[in-house]
């Protein structure tokens, strides 16, 4: 039995050390693969999640920044958020809905929030571009912030162009595109 216990402990240590927890995301995206081998940095990431229909969701990894960004976003749009609402927002892994609906959204119980979130998304078109505001405010909060776009591989380019334009307009010209590594067999069959 000792041997078995040894093995399990070893496996457990391996998993604990090498893995990272899966983040809860409102939509499932399959990211395209590339040969790029640069790893994404651990912290200071603002992730822009784009689903195949072009809906945009955001996530920030620092909770303190998140609270500040929401407060300022509220001020900009004439909405004041209570402490309670800010605390609730702090714990959301991913957010993305028009700022006008945010107050009602935060009042919902957690189980219902997910369903609402899926059909929402940050408005990001020429008439109402809240994505710009979010990114700009997050940048003010944290100057080391890096922007990463995680988009589904079948997202039409039109939507991507829209997001890239929005980022360009606020002078965010350097950003990361999240991809998965092309497996060796993939790359080799391509070479042949």
């Amino acid at each position: 039995m000792t041997a078995m216990s040894d093995v399990t402990v070893l496996l457990l240590t391996f998993f604990m050390l090498t893995s990272t927890f899966v983040q809860k995301e409102p939509v499932k995206v399959s990211i395209p693969s590339s040969v790029s081998e640069i790893k994404i940095p651990e912290s200071n990431i603002m992730q822009i999640l784009v689903d195949p229909k072009g809906k945009v969701f955001l996530s920030l990894d620092k909770q303190q920044d998140k609270v500040e960004v929401l407060r300022q976003m509220g001020e900009k749009n004439g909405i004041t958020f209570t402490e309670d609402e800010l605390n609730k927002f702090k714990l959301l892994p991913t957010f993305g809905l028009p700022i006008g609906n945010m107050k009602a959204f935060l009042a919902l119980p957690e189980e219902e929030q997910d369903a609402v979130l899926v059909s929402a998304g940050v408005p990001c078109d020429s008439t109402n571009n809240e994505l710009k505001d979010w990114v700009q405010l997050a940048r003010l909060q944290n100057n080391d912030l890096r922007i990463a776009i995680k988009a589904d591989q079948f997202t039409p380019y039109l939507q991507i162009k829209n997001i890239m334009k929005s980022l360009q307009d606020i002078r965010e010209n350097r950003y990361n595109l999240i991809t998965s590594l092309k497996t060796v067999s993939d790359a080799e069959t391509n070479k042949k």
């Binding site: 998993f15 360009q168 590594l181």
Partner: protein, 218 residues
């Protein structure tokens, strides 16, 4: 859980008592298995990769500030719908639909064209990689020499123009090809009407060219 058995038989003076300890490991193994299962289900092993890109600013650039690319060095890649990819060298001939070439994302498609165009740099990069393996070159030195090579004046300048019907994967694939073919100068540019015309013209095998009023263009 654990028990100690004392061997009472040979209990003579001066001899040490034999103790055999039995610990039941089953609950511990159970718990470990449970934890392993938890970690396997709730975590991901591989961290996603990332591609770093820098886009040009949207500030309007005056005609003088723009650096013009030599037509002989320029390659324009058009990402069409349904995973189609077109390319043309320099300035396309609007009268001849064959100046636009249709190709694929496979290795014998776009990549072979780019590798051929960028042959000088590619061979140098390969040499450098060999040298690195042979001489145990430091990573810093390697990247320094690599950037030196990529500055080469003969390497082509690529413009990637994606149509609205292409998808994100096409864009990533195209950027990937740049990476594979060691091309340092490339940009994602907005598509223009003339490019859309070229694609349409190619699809209809030159139908549109007939409609060009040649008397107007001079």
């Amino acid at each position: 859980m654990a028990e100690i058995q004392q061997n009472e038989k040979g209990g003579k003076k001066g001899k040490t008592k034999k103790l055999s300890i039995h610990i039941d490991f089953t609950p511990m193994v159970d718990m470990n298995m449970l934890l392993i299962t938890f970690f396997m289900l709730c975590t991901s092993l591989n961290k996603p990769q990332t591609m770093e890109i820098s886009m040009p600013t949207s500030d309007t650039v005056t005609e003088e500030e723009q650096n013009k690319v030599k037509a002989s060095k320029a390659i324009t890649i058009l990402l069409g719908p349904e995973d189609k990819i077109y390319y043309y060298f320099g300035i396309p001939d609007y009268n001849n639909y064959n100046s636009l070439h249709l190709t694929t994302y496979a290795a014998d498609g776009l990549r072979s064209v780019l590798l051929q165009r960028n042959a000088e740099v590619v061979t140098k990069v390969e040499e450098l990689k060999q040298k690195k393996l042979a001489e145990n070159m430091s990573e810093e030195e390697f990247t320094k020499q690599m950037t030196e090579i990529k500055k080469s004046k003969t390497s082509p300048v690529i413009m990637i123009k994606a149509t609205d019907d292409s998808n994100y994967k096409n864009l990533i694939d195209a950027l990937d090809e740049m990476h594979i073919c060691s091309i340092s100068q490339y940009a994602i540019v907005d598509i223009e009407e003339s490019d859309k015309f070229l694609i349409k013209n190619h699809e209809t095998a030159g139908e549109l060219t007939k409609n060009i009023d040649n008397s107007k263009i001079k």
